[in-house]
Subunit: 153 residues, 8 copies
């Protein structure tokens, strides 16, 4: 894994399309990213490995999208100190209520930054990542303003 600005992890292949929105939005901002499938429960070693690389400087921000008992963002947050953004994804039984509550209700000290559920959330995770990256890369500031202008006028 070469270094990228944003590592996007998705818990299941079936949600790749939704999280691809995050990758495309980042691309629109000229921000490098990588989209990886890794399940917190089914591939815990792979998730730990991703977290280790991130913590060693492999990425500045992490985006994690998962459904149901969505532990992916929380697991990555527990293993790194970079900002971790969680996207609650929809599933059959409880809409996005299970994934939202599983992602947002982290204990004091280990935050996850949760955005809207589903596709709007994938886009918003990317925009939030750009807002965060713009703190150190000032060239992103005007791009954020332009992005806003496109739909605000």
């Amino acid at each position: 894994m070469p270094r990228c600005s944003v590592l996007i992890v998705v818990g299941s292949k079936s949600d790749l399309d939704t999280m691809e929105e995050a990758r495309k939005t980042l691309e629109g901002f000229g921000v490098s990213s990588e989209l990886v499938v890794a399940s917190a429960h089914r591939q815990p070693a792979k998730v730990r490995e991703l977290a280790a690389r991130v913590q060693e400087g492999g990425a500045d921000v992490v985006i994690a999208g998962a459904g149901m008992a969505a532990h992916l963002a929380g697991t990555l947050a527990s293993l790194t100190t970079v900002p971790v953004i969680g996207v609650p994804l929809l599933a059959d039984s409880f809409g996005a209520l299970d994934s939202l509550l599983s992602t947002v209700q982290m204990p004091a000290g280990v935050p996850v930054a949760v955005v809207s559920a589903g596709k709007a959330g994938a886009v918003n995770a990317a925009v939030l990542a750009v807002e965060i990256l713009s703190l150190k890369d000032g060239s992103l500031k005007p791009r954020l303003s332009e992005y806003r202008k496109k739909f605000s006028s």
Copy 2:
């Protein structure tokens, strides 16, 4: 950690009293257990260590009680192949809805056995553990029947 039949893990010191009900219930059945505090999000290394010992034969059954975005049971389940029982605990903002959905909605292949929320659940986790252990320790069968008789007559 010497070997015990049931390892009880609780995610926060503030929930020790509730999960102590599980330990006492197991004691009533003559089943050895150990009660440990370890948070999936705040002490991920400790939780992994516990899982490793369990997987090496340190316990036959795991009970995990946690509140909010309760990942404890799911994390232990993702790292072991012994039965993991989850007890959803109550917190301020969403009662036990957040912990219930975070614990029960595991993806296909990595089950958690979830029982009632709160104290009734701590007791039930213990009784379920005894039912499971009775498969290999036949002497527990009559004790389970007696236990039932006490409140069924």
Copy 3:
């Protein structure tokens, strides 16, 4: 009913397909099972009969899948002391919220082991049953590890 390791009961014919996932998963582990339709409310005598056979040694573990006011797992749990696994199934009016709460919120002393709702839950009920059976049948341990490896790498 000849002896089987796992008795799978489903509350309604319309949910047979979903619970068939449990049977197939058990088959993949080489664990014998039987899949029976019996409704707690519409066929209470049949359910009692099944419970009696289980309690006399007809099965080591019970899996019960039902929707709506899902009493099937709870009824079987109240009549046996073997581990009873409940799978909340979806219906029109409340998704799986009604079946989840009806199955999981058992009173102290009579546990049901609840897994995810719907098809993921049917698979997980089977895997949990294998984990339980592996306590007395050591040959299942390596099969569980292999099963995990298939999706964890």
Copy 4:
């Protein structure tokens, strides 16, 4: 158990006070009743026995109050063909949402008549029982009208 018009069953001693409201309301109408504690999950044999007596003519109407995974009313309904009225009672974790959904969502063919949760429900179960009994005992009709008048003017 001598014959009474209404058999009131409550799932747990801790809810006796709430269901006592039903008994007192029936008394106010001059309708005989008996209040019994019996848990569907902890005392299934006792519940079956009560159902058998009811079905043999021991009572015209049954009222059942229970909390959590409230199967009491549904179990009695599955074993009798007299009207069974269910009162969802409150518990810590989910208010009365678990008991309401567990009581009301019965499958086609086996109805439970569910009233409001908690004390208002205990009173309403009694009034509903009187309305039902008034079909065969016409002397209850004017008492129902008087009862209404007391709070309607």
Copy 5:
């Protein structure tokens, strides 16, 4: 409106199909019924008129099916002293949660007997009505037993 045993009221034409299940079920028991469309909010005078006829002896039992802020059963219950059975119907925005809570949470003194949501509820309302009518018409008792036998064996 000639006298009938059961008056079935449905709040909207669009729900006629669902409530027709109640009429057919009653017909199967040989119980006379009439199915009328009347909305508590859009046709309050018509609903009051129906209630008046019922209270004057026009029907022994009322079944009311409605969706959303379902006041139909409650309004009829507030104007009569015969048993009123409510069927919560599904709508787009909140499934049947709005109609269930609107129908069941009646204040002390004015009960509605609520059954399952949707089609299962329409059938159950009819069966409950037959159970109630069987108190004065003993010939319905064996029919109820036969009805149960059909699906219980």
Copy 6:
């Protein structure tokens, strides 16, 4: 009942304190009001009478506060064509979810204007009533602006 600008109806004496906030807020604006207890289910005739007086010009706006299966606002709305404002009040079993859904989900053609639950809602019902009245009484416009200024600076 002499004419008043706003008729405030509350479904139960126990909620008088909460709805008194509406009366006091209106008084602060110099708007005449009357606060009456009348239950849609327990005193349907009184509610109809109030609606008739309103429809004959007795009030310009109606505020109705009720808990549980809150039909009060909807019933008044079904009988008048003046704006009816509903305040969902809290009760034990479901917080304000039952009263909110029962008040807001009115069928097309018969609106209720629902505001926040509880005390904030009682205040807001009054402010909304003043906003409505200001359409015909221009002197209320500057008072509304002053009211806003008090907390906006």
Copy 7:
């Protein structure tokens, strides 16, 4: 923007069809309206501009329809003192629960008048607007009565 009686704002183009029901209903009453797309979050300046025009007398009543974290009605209410009616619209993840709670739970002092979710709400917002306008335009009173009569007989 020429003056109109009712300004209808919708937060997203994708919800234009739903809110068009409000415009058509107002048209049926002969009430002038204008339907504008403006998002509280994506076009805050446009929303502020609309509010300013309204506050300067551009409209007597505002209707705002939005989904998800629906701040549109609340934002308009915070910037004007005319009655603002909110219509909670449906989205994928939480039905209309998110938009309903986001619209209705306004703090004391800044009311929004919330109606049913979805299309029924769009119609009801229009009818409520007409009821409000009828306070100053008496000619609308008989039209409201006729409108009711059409579906009440």
Copy 8:
């Protein structure tokens, strides 16, 4: 307002204690912050002013805590392009469900980073802010690691 790293805004004085946890946590990291009370609905001009100062460089990150129909974070996010962190606060009627959904369900393009509800969320908002700031201020990295170590061992 002198420049600070993090601007903390709270919607109501009554929630100052909860959000003070954020200020104290930031102080522990040596990060400058300012805690201001400003309500999105009651003081929209003040909120806009704060947003303008932020957008002109007055702060790198914004934290906004609010209850009920919590629009504060969303309003600030709609007016700035710095990262805005939302803390859903508890209120009487719906726990934190109303504030959570009102804060998190932002439309595509305008993200809010939502953390846990209540006090845990106030702490987590601060830690997340530090994680974000650490992208440009490398000296915060070791402090974050130390902070984690304190509770992880």
